[in-house]
């Protein structure tokens, strides 16, 4: 009796374990028609002030859509790049997920993980409510796969007091820029604060140099890997780009040891008045303004490419936006929420709360944003186009060779020529792999 009882118990235990192990159903199994609809929403802004905004949007949306429940999750910038891939691999893909523009988003489209939003955007009033130029980088083979939430670009900011003290003007050519650096250095000031512990920071410099030193058609053929294998990344402009970057290091225009400092660490130095300039994103303006006062700094477009074959009026930067999972159970609801999130009303709220330019039409104005941010957005609007972030605009396997190479150039352990020949090899390999698929 007793033994039979225990045998039963252990059998039950085994059965329970088996059930637990293989009984897990993929989430979102409930039927769409009647029960509440759950939309999973995943982004890369876990900072409290950002979360507050998204929570506000969700609350507002759920008020008018009682049958929809938005479940939000977020991780920071660097880990996001990993986590989204883990989610894709596991099949637990969120219904709406953040993506950088360009190659980063196109690979989701290529892999069949992103819903085609062309119809939803172009055949409704949505197209009048978002800045359409910001949609361009989310287009793959002519179709829209992502909707921009905000716009962003890189500018050189400078310490106004310092420039005044040494009689400096914002430079408009590469030589003027070098002269400014030299003057600051002669006066014992670090000319440029730069933190490259995570080498995306260097890739923003190189991306800007490339855009202005390499012919646009050649650069596009290289980035998209459509150029003949033997010509990939062989334009002398790429070597020149790394050489100019190296020059800034060798002349002592960057602070000491950029590879050992994080970007935010370098930004603190700039805010503390320990450096004359820094290359930062428009979205960081508000942080700098909080730290040193909105009138204490000015900005100019980095004149990195004087004399080059590229388009000198390009600005490095990209929109940030969202994509919808292709196999979502609730495409209607997901698209509807995304439309609400990117609407001008929410856009204004975004700019007001965070000081970061939204991609919604009319969201950035003197009422909602700092004058310097408004001026930044004007610069974006007058630029001839955007050179996307290099690290999300070319294939990741090339990035993994290119970016560490930039760190090596800073350390003086590799020459620009060596780095580019490694990039050429990597590009050839990737091109071959893509052909074989």
């Amino acid at each position: 009796m007793n033994r039979k009882f225990w045998t039963l118990i252990s059998l039950l235990l085994v059965a329970a374990l088996l059930l637990a192990a293989c009984g897990q159903k993929p989430s979102g199994g409930e039927s769409a028609a009647t029960g509440p609809v759950t939309i999973r929403f995943f982004h890369k802004w876990p900072e409290p002030e950002h979360m507050e905004f998204y929570n506000f949007v969700i609350q507002e949306y759920e008020k008018t859509h009682p049958n929809v429940k938005i479940v939000m999750e977020s991780v920071a910038d660097e880990p996001y790049k990993d986590k989204i891939r883990v989610l894709m691999a596991s099949g637990e893909v969120p219904d709406i997920y953040f993506s950088w523009a360009g190659e980063f988003s196109w690979k989701f489209a290529r892999g069949g993980q992103a819903l085609d939003l062309t119809d939803a955007v172009m055949n409704s009033d949505w197209k009048d409510k978002i800045i359409l130029s910001a949609v361009e980088p989310y287009k793959w083979q002519g179709k829209i796969y992502g909707v921009p939430m905000r716009i962003n670009a890189k500018f050189m900011v400078y310490n106004k007091a310092m420039f005044e003290q040494y009689g400096l003007q914002p430079p408009t050519t590469w030589d003027e820029f070098l002269a400014v650096c030299e003057t600051l250095k002669q006066n014992g000031v670090t000319p440029i604060a730069f933190g490259d512990e995570f080498p995306w920071a260097a890739s923003h410099y190189i991306g800007d140099f490339n855009a202005k030193l390499v012919d646009p058609a050649v650069r596009q053929a290289d980035y998209l890997l459509t150029a003949p294998a033997e010509q990939l990344f062989t334009d002398p402009g790429y070597v020149e780009a790394l050489s100019r970057f190296q020059l800034l290091m060798d002349k002592g225009y960057f602070n000491e040891g950029p590879n050992g400092i994080s970007h935010s660490g370098a930004r603190s130095s700039f805010i503390a008045g320990k450096a004359g300039m820094m290359y930062i994103e428009l979205e960081e303006f508000v942080t700098v303004a909080d730290g040193m006062g909105a009138d204490a700094f000015g900005f100019f477009q980095f004149p990195s490419g004087t004399g080059g074959k590229g388009d000198q009026k390009l600005l490095t930067g990209a929109p940030d936006g969202f994509m919808v999972y292709s196999k979502t159970k609730h495409p209607q609801e997901a698209i509807d929420f995304l439309k609400f999130l990117t609407s001008p009303e929410m856009g204004k709220e975004y700019v007001k709360r965070l000081g970061i330019p939204s991609a919604a039409v009319g969201a950035v104005s003197a009422e909602t944003a700092l004058p310097i941010v408004v001026a930044g957005v004007e610069s974006i609007n007058t630029a001839s186009g955007m050179a996307l972030w290099l690290d999300t605009d070319i294939n990741i396997k090339i990035v993994e060779v290119y970016l560490p190479g930039m760190q090596a150039v800073l350390n003086g352990t590799k020459t620009p020529q060596q780095v580019m020949s490694e990039v050429q090899e990597a590009a050839k390999t990737v091109q071959q792999e893509l052909k074989n698929q």
Partner: protein, 299 residues
């Protein structure tokens, strides 16, 4: 009928009790290991889950991948330095703290001081040391400058020559105290009479240490050595937090190169092959540990 007879068979019962554990182990440990070997034979990515059979190509690539060589070298460095500090130095520290001079007054103070770093979260430790290592405002460089050793200043984490050593140093700082505590426990188990008779025979502290302490904590030493070596090959977190393998892959270790290949480069098949390599290394080390452990029992 037959089933109940089967269950009542005495010799089956223990296996039935083991069954849940075996099932859990099989599902979460053995099966993934086999699956990993299987996956390493394909080229596939997380975003585009098309499988292309490539045979042993991923393993061939390991042999020609220079980053693998750097990673292995860094893991070996990690192991050698860790064994020196976390086994040898920790044992010496334990012996000093348990010695008759320090123990009565300062024993618990130093024990706690040295143990403290091991209870801190890895990220906290990593970020704190990043600040200490900062080239411009970091404590270390300022200290070197202050005591007149300015020529030793480095970009500790940003220099390809010093990055891995700087990370290894932090690991030692964090774990020496922990291993030391384990040695203290082992030393406390040594009968006091042995030291007493040694003293009567005129043995000084050094020979007491060599002839009594070292042989009698042999078991702990063996275990700690193997654990430290295996840990050095599995290391991931502290490296990822402090340098993420940079600059220019100079501080890459197998664990974080595997992670990078899988979740940055989207080469799941190749990552699985690296995981197999890591598995083989740690499996061999564990095997050695088990053998050494057994020979210890016989003594």
């Amino acid at each position: 009928m037959t089933i109940s007879r089967l269950f009542s068979a005495r010799r089956l019962t223990p296996y039935l009790f083991l069954l849940p554990a075996i099932l859990v182990m099989a599902t979460f440990v053995y099966l993934p290991i086999i699956e990993n070997f299987y996956y390493s034979l394909f080229r596939w990515s997380s975003i585009d889950p098309r499988f292309t059979f490539v045979g042993l190509n991923n393993y061939k690539r390991i042999l020609s991948d220079s980053i693998i060589t750097v990673s292995l070298r860094n893991n070996v460095l990690y192991a050698v330095i860790s064994v020196f500090f976390q086994v040898f130095i920790a044992l010496v520290l334990a012996a000093i703290l348990e010695g008759r001079v320090i123990r009565p007054r300062w024993g618990s103070f130093f024990r706690n001081m040295l143990f403290l770093p091991s209870v801190l979260a890895i990220t906290v430790v990593g970020i704190t040391w990043q600040l200490i290592y900062r080239p411009d405002t970091g404590l270390l460089n300022q200290f070197l400058e202050g005591v007149g050793l300015g020529f030793l200043k480095r970009t500790w984490l940003g220099d390809e020559g010093t990055a891995i050593y700087s990370v290894i140093a932090v690991s030692q700082w964090q774990w020496v105290g922990y291993v030391m505590i384990l040695f203290i426990v082992a030393i406390q188990a040594i009968p006091e009479e042995l030291y007493e008779s040694a003293r009567i025979d005129g043995a000084n502290l050094v020979s007491q240490f060599i002839h009594i302490t070292v042989p009698l904590v042999r078991e702990t030493t063996l275990v700690m050595t193997t654990i430290t070596v295996i840990g050095a090959f599995k290391v991931f977190d502290i490296v990822w937090v402090m340098t993420a393998g940079g600059p220019n892959h100079a501080s890459e270790v197998l664990g974080n190169y595997l992670y990078r290949v899988a979740f940055r480069n989207d080469e799941m098949g190749y990552a699985a092959a690296i995981a197999s390599l890591l598995f083989i290394i740690t499996f061999l080390l564990t095997f050695v540990q088990l053998r050494l452990g057994r020979s210890g029992e016989e003594v």
